[in-house]
């Protein structure tokens, strides 16, 4: 067992236990905190996979912005809300069966596929540091998708402001 492998199993355990905690949480606030754990675990996984820029962006955007946004939304709506205790009615049983089936199919097909052995000698960053290499790819090869995604972001944020502000005729 090498160091990164042990680290990977520890991170995977943390992520999955946070996700199960999220499913079992009955108060919405507890759920928002456990999803923060999942996001930070994913960021650690990205750092382990040598994707430093994506890992830091994950911490900034997901663990920082999105978790705080969710907490704001919970506080602005009824934050005392509790899920009813879990019951095995028809819908829940069918959903659980479907999810387990999907999980089994994906895991089996992952197991049966012969994955190529990664070539460790290739430097994916091309000699630069990871943020520099990502910036080069983003502004050269992916310049048009980058501009389009910024357009989409501004449209979505203006739309969110328009949707969330209180209208006169409601009062």
């Amino acid at each position: 067992m090498s160091g990164p492998l042990i680290a990977f199993y520890v991170i995977a355990l943390c992520v999955l236990s946070c996700a199960v905690l999220l499913l079992s949480a009955r108060r919405v606030i507890h759920m928002a905190l456990s999803v923060g754990g999942v996001f930070i675990g994913c960021a650690a996984l990205y750092l382990l996979l040598d994707a430093e820029f994506v890992g830091v962006a994950q911490i900034l955007i997901y663990a920082g912005a999105i978790t705080i946004l969710i907490l704001f939304a919970i506080m602005l709506t009824n934050h005392e809300a509790q899920e009813p205790p879990f019951r095995w009615n028809v819908r829940n049983v069918l959903s659980a069966l479907g999810c387990l089936l999907l999980c089994a199919v994906i895991l089996l097909s992952i197991r049966r596929t012969a994955w190529p052995v990664p070539d460790a000698s290739v430097d994916i960053n091309g000699g630069n540091s990871n943020p520099v290499a990502i910036g080069m790819a983003l502004f050269k090869q992916y310049a048009i998708p980058f501009e389009l995604v910024s357009l989409l972001l501004i449209v979505a944020l203006v739309g969110a402001v328009l949707l969330a502000r209180s209208r006169k005729e409601d009062e």
Binding site: S2, I66, I134, L152
Partner: protein, 108 residues
């Protein structure tokens, strides 16, 4: 081990992403609260991101495309959660509720 490729087996990373995706799917299908449904959807997006980053590093010809695409996915997820929570606020103002079962009428 250290010089025969990447130390983490790709199957384990993909299996982690698959299990995370299925946990998120179960949450989307069974949770009653709209915020919980949105958060479970974020879990599914995160699972897809893990796959993208893993394939960027662990394939026969490693390159950066997976990481760039996961950055795009993170941006789309931020836009999605912003619009979703704005819709939730507008709905809560009308109905004083954030339950999925109250979302069943076309107009009120």
């Amino acid at each position: 081990m250290a010089n025969s490729g990447f130390p983490i087996p790709i199957g384990s990373v993909l299996a982690l992403a698959a299990i995370l995706f299925c946990i998120g799917l179960f949450g989307v299908l069974t949770k009653r609260n709209l915020i919980m449904v949105l958060v479970s959807m974020e879990l599914m997006l995160n699972a897809a991101n893990i796959n993208l980053v893993a394939f960027s590093r662990i394939q026969s010809k490693p390159n950066l495309s997976g990481q760039v695409f996961s950055l795009f996915t993170i941006t789309i997820a931020a836009a999605e959660i912003a619009v979703g929570l704005a819709l939730l606020l507008a709905f809560f103002r009308l109905r004083q509720s954030s339950e999925v079962k109250d979302l069943d009428s076309h107009r009120w």
